[in-house]
Symmetry: C2
Subunit: 350 residues, 2 copies
């Protein structure tokens, strides 16, 4: 079977000829510009439909200095949290005529600002995205944000990043969500509640701990420093944290893990040690990512609207540069939900 050659597609000129107008008018209709008679507008639309005309992004890009491309800067790790955000972002891009591309940025620890900037320049100059979307662990990286700003690229960031940061931010209210989650444990009757931190360079770690501490204090409970253990947002650090906490002379009856992956590790460590969840130990996570319902018992957690975070981030980013509001700052906070599942219960010896 011979390979077919690429079918030749209609150009703007063809549409103009068929509609009996100039190509400029076609362009205006396509870009939803005002000042076109309805009659002409309809003629053009008919011609577009008849010819199945789709404008060439290359040509639009070249002349208009736009690429209709948004780049998601990722870290090399498997994360269903990122995955879900990416999903929402793709949906929004498709809806708005943009394309979502993925780039991988290697670890930038120990890199100078100039090196980071050079790396980003290399990455962005080739395909010239109209905007960049930053997620964990890069969303909170100030050097990256600043370098991108110097390169004149619009950025949207997702998650609880620096409060003083400018640009577009999309997130949920981590502080209050953490309070809610902690209150749930307190209301069940828990007093010795442990906390598993995430990566220390992520603001999420700090905000969630702040909410946790606040709720504990408000309830007249103290946070035992020995029950605050480190983690790195992944399954195995959750297991380690679980082992540490269970080995404590006076172990906690409940644990707040600052994300779901670690909570899953914790539940696994408990189960392996013969500690029943939630009978002997209650565990809560954070995110409501895929793992939350791919474990037993299913995880009580905070639901982040991950798809929506991705969608809203893209919409705001595009809106921002379409209205030439480059450099504008805004902060969008979406609703979260507390999701009660099966890893929490009242403590046995209350």
């Amino acid at each position: 079977m011979a390979g077919e050659s690429k079918p030749k597609t209609a150009k703007m000129k063809d549409v103009a000829d068929l509609a009996g107008v100039s190509i400029k008018t076609v362009s205006r209709v396509l870009n939803n510009e005002p000042h076109v008679q309805d009659k002409l507008r309809n003629k053009v639309k008919d011609a577009v439909a008849k010819l199945e005309y789709v404008p060439s992004q290359s040509a639009r890009s070249l002349r208009g200095n736009k690429s209709y491309n948004i780049n998601l800067l990722c870290h090399a790790s498997d994360s269903s949290y990122i995955n879900a955000i990416q999903f929402g972002a793709v949906i929004a891009c498709q809806k708005l005529g943009y394309q979502l591309s993925i780039s991988l940025l290697e670890d930038l620890h120990n890199h100078s600002f100039d090196e980071i900037k050079a790396e980003l320049e290399q990455l962005t100059h080739q395909h010239r995205p109209d905007g960049i979307m930053l997620v964990a662990p890069y969303a909170g990286n100030r050097m990256i944000a600043f370098a991108l700003k110097e390169l004149g690229i619009d950025v949207v960031r997702i998650g609880p990043v620096d409060l003083t940061a400018d640009g577009i931010l999309v997130e949920i209210d981590d502080y209050n969500a953490s309070i809610e989650l902690t209150k749930h444990l307190i209301d069940l009757g828990h007093k010795r509640i442990a906390f598993v931190r995430g990566l220390e360079n992520q603001r999420a770690t700090h905000v969630r701990f702040e909410g946790f501490s606040m709720a504990m204090n408000a309830a007249g409970l103290t946070v035992d420093p020995e029950l605050v253990v480190p983690g790195s947002f992944d399954f195995s650090s959750g297991m380690t944290a679980g082992q540490t906490l269970l080995a404590h002379a006076n172990p906690p009856t409940a644990v707040f893990a600052s994300n779901d992956d670690m909570a899953a590790g914790l539940v696994t460590a408990a189960t392996m040690a013969g500690v029943s969840v939630p009978g002997d130990l209650s565990v809560v996570g954070y995110d409501d990512s895929a793992v939350a319902t791919r474990m037993r018992p299913e995880l009580t957690t905070i639901h982040q609207p991950l798809h929506e975070l991705g969608e809203v981030a893209i919409e705001n980013l595009i809106d921002s540069f379409q209205h030439k509001r480059t450099g504008s700052s805004r902060r969008v906070v979406l609703d979260h939900n507390f999701v009660l599942r099966d890893t929490t219960a009242a403590p046995k010896n209350k």
Copy 2:
């Protein structure tokens, strides 16, 4: 703080002027074309470096009718299998000066060929990728493959798809890997071995079952039809399969789940039912995706080189259309590995 305007970048003309040559010569050097004196070539390279010149993909696209963009067509599901392949694909694209973009295709069940073709035309005409990468569950979809062919777009597919399919295929030897995996269970002394199928429209399901059956027969064992249960490649179908198998009057001592997610569900179901893995039941998975080491006991499985599958797929795709070998067929088979972990052991009452 005022937003900086996009910095103006060097153009090919600037490089040509600095190097004292024509822009055509610069173009030749940049595209690694022959017929340029080394002296001039070096002058040009110096100028490129000095000006930090990066060619505009838009301009190259428009004139050259190439987009330097490869599109990964995804299904809306969270899968660390796809995630890992995507990772490898991004790496390869970055290395070769291409960009990987993601598109989501909604479910196409009950759609006619013409509808599918129209959908794909819409999707591809806007950004005109130079090639498309297809993974599960679309890699094996003949209508998609055929529609893309009619649209003149090069395609690479990953996984065990139809043997008669033309185009570029990258996969591992599923048949022999499945035999190996089954032999492992047989060598441990298992005789009643169950099999959990995946989606029936995926060739992986059939090839893996074929390998399983073959190995059973070769060892003089029969496949009990009652121990062959359906699944859909996800965690919850694995749990269901586990419950079904454990409820059997004469339950199996080992299970071959045709991917890791289902194996994880199976282990979870067993654990919940008080059936110890691997003490009372051995379980093997397939893929070695992230979940394999995010569970306890860790999963014995077949390691698919997912990153490499993604990389090799992209490399072959680009190589194919760069050499105008559009329409050429080839099949690349990468090595797999049997990974012995902790979910398999000899049966108790052998």
